[in-house]
């Protein structure tokens, strides 16, 4: 058994088989993973906001989709993953409260998910699976031995994507 490595909010980490990367209770945030099935190297970023260029206070790169995803790519390739073999999966991006207007709270989940897709297209990495949106929290685990991405929610069966 490998160890379970915790990734906090606005945080990113890289691991190798047999370790498992986890992040607890994704709400509107996105948990994006990169995985190289040959090198068995994986990475997970838990970002809160889509776009660092919208804000002046943007020193924490893992807090934002654009900078966080770029940094994760840098770190997984540095750990031995090959960019051409990388696949991506995303989970999260929920809207925890069903607010009726177009406020940040109502929109940020969807915007976070959209940023993942924009960045992946830009970087040329394939998105192979996603479980995003709706109105509930998700705890996720990336198994670096298999690339399986496990999703657990309150009152729902465990899902693997």
């Amino acid at each position: 058994m490998g160890s379970l490595i915790k990734v906090g909010m606005a945080d990113l980490k890289v691991a190798k088989a047999p370790d498992v990367l986890t992040t607890l209770g994704l709400g509107s945030c996105i948990g994006l993973t990169f995985y190289d099935p040959v090198a068995k190297v994986g990475g997970l970023v838990h970002y809160m906001l889509p776009d660092s260029t919208q804000l002046r206070n943007n020193s924490n790169i893992a807090k934002f989709g654009d900078t966080g995803i770029e940094e994760l790519l840098k770190q997984v390739t540095a750990a031995g993953a090959s960019k051409s073999r990388l696949v991506a999966k995303i989970a999260g991006g929920a809207s925890m409260f069903q607010v009726s207007n177009n406020s940040t709270v109502g929109q940020v989940g969807a915007r976070n998910a959209q940023m993942a897709k924009t960045m992946l297209t830009k970087l040329g990495i394939r998105l192979v699976a996603e479980d995003t949106g709706l109105n509930y929290g998700r705890t996720v685990e990336l198994d670096c031995s298999t690339g399986d991405y496990l999703i657990k929610s309150v009152g729902k069966p465990v899902k693997t994507i």
């Binding site: 906090g8 909010m9 606005a10 945080d11 607890l24 209770g25 994704l26 709400g27 509107s28 945030c29 809160m48 906001l49 804000l55 002046r56 206070n57 924490n60 807090k63 929920a94 925890m96 409260f97 069903q98 607010v99 207007n101 406020s103 940040t104 709270v105 940020v108 109105n135 509930y136 929290g137 998700r138 705890t139 929610s153 309150v154 009152g155």
Partner: protein, 206 residues
């Protein structure tokens, strides 16, 4: 002052927020006591100043199920606020209000959720009227939205809102009850342009 952020708040501002928290929690306790027809004691609230990304572990383990009630605020002050209860506290309040016990381990029924929403509404309303009275500014809350889910997921909402302006978030912890003490948490999230209005209305230098 256009780029006000909680990263630069001073001692005096913290004291003011604490005082608003105090009065708000007092109003809320009175309102709940009236609704339940019982006497409730209240402890002095404490103000927690936390890294927004670490809000989720300020209250309980990240995966613990909690109840969050969220309201949007408009008029002279705009923004939002949230009231959080632990699951056992929420179940206790709901059972007191409805006069029947909550089935332990079972999800809340529609009826219980709506009672919970009402409790959140009253508590948030008491808090906002304290703020409104102190500042003489009109504050209009929206209908309350409720979510029963993992702490980290619910607290990602205030984390994102605070995260837009800076690294820090502010949380007011209150405790009230009779034989059972209920712990609740308020999170007030004025929009950036509302901070100077609140400070000015309270006679503080902006």
């Amino acid at each position: 002052m256009a780029d006000f952020s909680l990263d630069q708040v001073n001692e005096m501002y913290m004291d003011v927020l604490k005082e608003i928290g105090n009065i708000g929690a007092g109003n809320a306790t009175t309102a709940i006591a009236g609704m339940l027809g019982m006497r409730l004691d209240m402890k002095v609230p404490s103000v927690l100043f936390k890294d927004a990304a670490k809000l989720s572990d300020a209250i309980c383990p990240e995966e613990e199920t909690i109840v969050g009630v969220f309201l949007e605020v408009t008029d002279a002050i705009t923004g939002s606020m949230m009231f959080i209860l632990k699951l056992d506290s929420a179940a206790y309040l709901v059972s007191k209000l409805m006069g029947m016990p909550h089935e332990e381990g079972e999800p809340f029924t529609e009826m219980e959720l709506s009672a919970m929403q009402e409790i959140g509404n009253i508590i948030a309303g008491s808090y906002l009227s304290a703020l409104s009275n102190m500042t003489n500014l009109r504050i209009q809350p929206s209908v309350p939205y409720i979510s029963v889910d993992m702490a980290a997921a619910i607290l990602s909402v205030p984390a994102v809102i605070f995260g837009q302006y800076g690294e820090n978030a502010l949380l007011i912890e209150t405790e009230f009850g009779d034989d059972v003490m209920i712990q609740g948490y308020f999170i007030l999230m004025p929009d950036q342009e509302s901070y100077p209005k609140i400070l000015q209305a309270l006679g503080m230098p902006v």
